[in-house]
Symmetry: C2
Subunit: 374 residues, 2 copies
């Protein structure tokens, strides 16, 4: 056998990333509503779609390793210099690079208990020691995250705003105040994947502050999750360091073209944001009709509180899946009393409305249903 | 500033990866022939193109993290089990994962002096110590690579067959014999990016042998470099370990669809291979007409020996670029006496034939040309 590093030897062989396609293969049946992965069912911009279809013929060429046009457009959009923007293979890819740049075995990294698992995957993958802070009232506990970063001498602290999986949100002034208190030598990873769905933008971007990096994506309101385009905005020295390690020719050329075109279609984004808002309200209404409550959401999904414990919510989820509705749920108590439903089309939510009463009935009468792995 | 790891602090800030688009921006003019990056100017399969255009509308969905359909098709194609195949973001992406899995600071890694720089980039990026073996008669010196791996206790030894940048090839029986002599605990990375252009296939694939991993790609004869799809074939335990660290949702959904469709169009591949062969012969003929020789190539490019030293070849290259022909050249002596010309369309090679005499003239009379950075 090849001689794996001790770090890699110690990593778990199984991973929690099960896609809906894998579930469909097990079920041997397609989902009728795909509202589990916080994708944008409203699709990409027609301009992005056209750009991608056109770019496909040029797929024989490597993409521009500098992502020049896209980075410049993003810099313009955010009022920063191009040196403050790095484009990568989704936020997931950028988080991997970032953790690699900062985390050595044993280094402390602070996040919320039950927050984005892919960040944790990268931290563990580079040997970092995760320090977790419980949610407070279904919100990431921003004060405690910052305090814990100071106490533990953490190199990184992760905050998603809006949060995933709960969809809760901290206003810009709260985040800005927290930024002031990030300890020197600690970097705040401010994951703003869902910020376009929030009631207000995040705090002003200050690229002079080397204690924060902002993560953004084309996977959510831009409707291009499958294209794998994310970007980070930050201090030029931090952003420049990505060049030391990133996969320079890693970006799909078709995706580069699509992202650039999508930036040029703000009307589509406004329309999607409006549709997301309508879908959120409808999900909440469906929850209420079934005697459940919905956590107010600033993201493109809603955490629906099933009103009992994690085992109950899991039974609801399993029954929904059995009934062809793909949803997911938080992994950690007490948030795991919820199921997480992404903003769907009208047809998606019609189906959700139709099957939720049955799923709740199944969950309340577990002996009557076949428990099946999901 | 964030506290970078010591390893990352020590990495160079500048990288050698300059794309043709960057040169076009500096020149403020498009190339008329793009024959420098060993892309396939013959483009993707019409079936792949149609599949990508169709998949673009579904770009709102993440790609299947298991790459199930593509991996199964590849397993069928190569007569191996699906557990022996991992799909990743190009061979570049897979090389990064592989090095991360095996290389700790100070670990020895053997490669040829002047071979694929992205592999070296990853090795240095994880702190590995590169041990290089000179080319022998413009071939990677396979015996010496294996011997050096034994001497140094290397964890990895890299061999590209066909080679890049020289295009030379070792027959399957030579590679198979070398495989027998790989020391236990050393992994041979057999990069077969160009194998479809070679006069014979590589040695039989034996997934029971944990001392070799085969790297393949859709970037060359499949004409999908910009789509970023590579794969590795190897022992199930090695292949399974990629799941511990890879970016599970890292694949572009459009690219997955394109690669799958391309596998279903062997006629296109045969046609491309024939076109590559014609282009190689034409490049050699053009070289000969200009008093130069061409290194016999088993890849989709030809190293043209400019008949003098590296400085001379660089002047030829710079003049070609000035005349709108994008080419590259080997970086290390004595291979840097060559320029490397990718298989082009008839129009590409017409232009190359037209400008090469002028470029040689420029190179022979350097005082008469303006030396410009490339």
């Amino acid at each position: 056998m090849p001689r794996f590093t001790n770090l890699v030897k110690g990593l778990p062989a199984t991973v929690p990333f099960v896609g809906p396609e894998a579930q469909e293969r097990v079920r041997n049946r397609r989902f009728r509503a795909r509202v589990g992965a916080n994708e944008s069912v409203f699709g990409p911009s027609p301009k992005a779609l056209m750009a991608m279809q056109k770019a496909a013929a040029g797929a024989w060429m490597y993409g521009d390793p500098e992502n020049h046009d896209l980075r410049n457009a993003l810099a313009d959009r955010h009022g920063v210099d191009v040196e403050n923007v790095v484009v990568g293979e989704g936020i997931d890819g950028l988080l991997g690079y970032l953790v690699r740049m900062l985390v050595e075995p044993g280094d402390r990294v602070v996040t919320s208990l039950g927050a984005y698992p892919t960040f944790n995957f990268h931290v563990s993958g580079f040997g970092g020691a995760l320090v977790t802070v419980p949610y407070r009232d279904d919100h990431e506990d921003i004060q405690e995250l910052v305090a814990k970063a100071g106490e533990t001498g953490a190199k990184l602290v992760y905050l998603a705003n809006p949060d995933n999986p709960m969809g809760t949100f901290h206003p810009a002034d709260i985040v800005a105040a927290a930024l002031e208190r990030i300890p020197d030598g600690c970097l705040l990873v401010l994951d703003e994947a869902y910020i376009d769905c929030a009631p207000e933008p995040g705090p002003a971007i200050n690229t002079g502050d080397s204690r924060v990096v902002r993560m953004r994506t084309f996977s959510k309101v831009h409707g291009m999750a499958g294209a794998r385009v994310g970007y980070a905005i930050g201090h030029a020295e931090l952003i420049g360091a990505f060049d030391k390690i990133r996969n320079h020719f890693g970006m799909c050329r078709i995706s580069q073209a699509g992202a650039l075109a999508s930036l040029g279609d703000p009307d589509h984004l406004s329309d999607v944001v409006a549709r997301i808002d309508r879908a959120r309200r409808r999900i909440a209404a469906i929850a209420n009709e079934n005697g459940l409550s919905a956590i107010p959401s600033a993201a493109n999904f809603v955490a629906v509180d099933c009103g009992a414990d994690g085992a109950f919510a899991r039974r609801v989820l399993e029954s929904l899946i059995k009934r062809d509705v793909f949803v997911r749920m938080p992994l950690v108590a007490p948030q795991d009393r919820c199921i997480r439903v992404s903003a769907g089309t009208n047809a998606d939510l019609d189906l959700f409305a139709e099957v939720l009463p049955h799923a709740l009935s199944d969950a309340r009468n577990p002996q009557s249903t076949v428990n099946r792995p999901v």
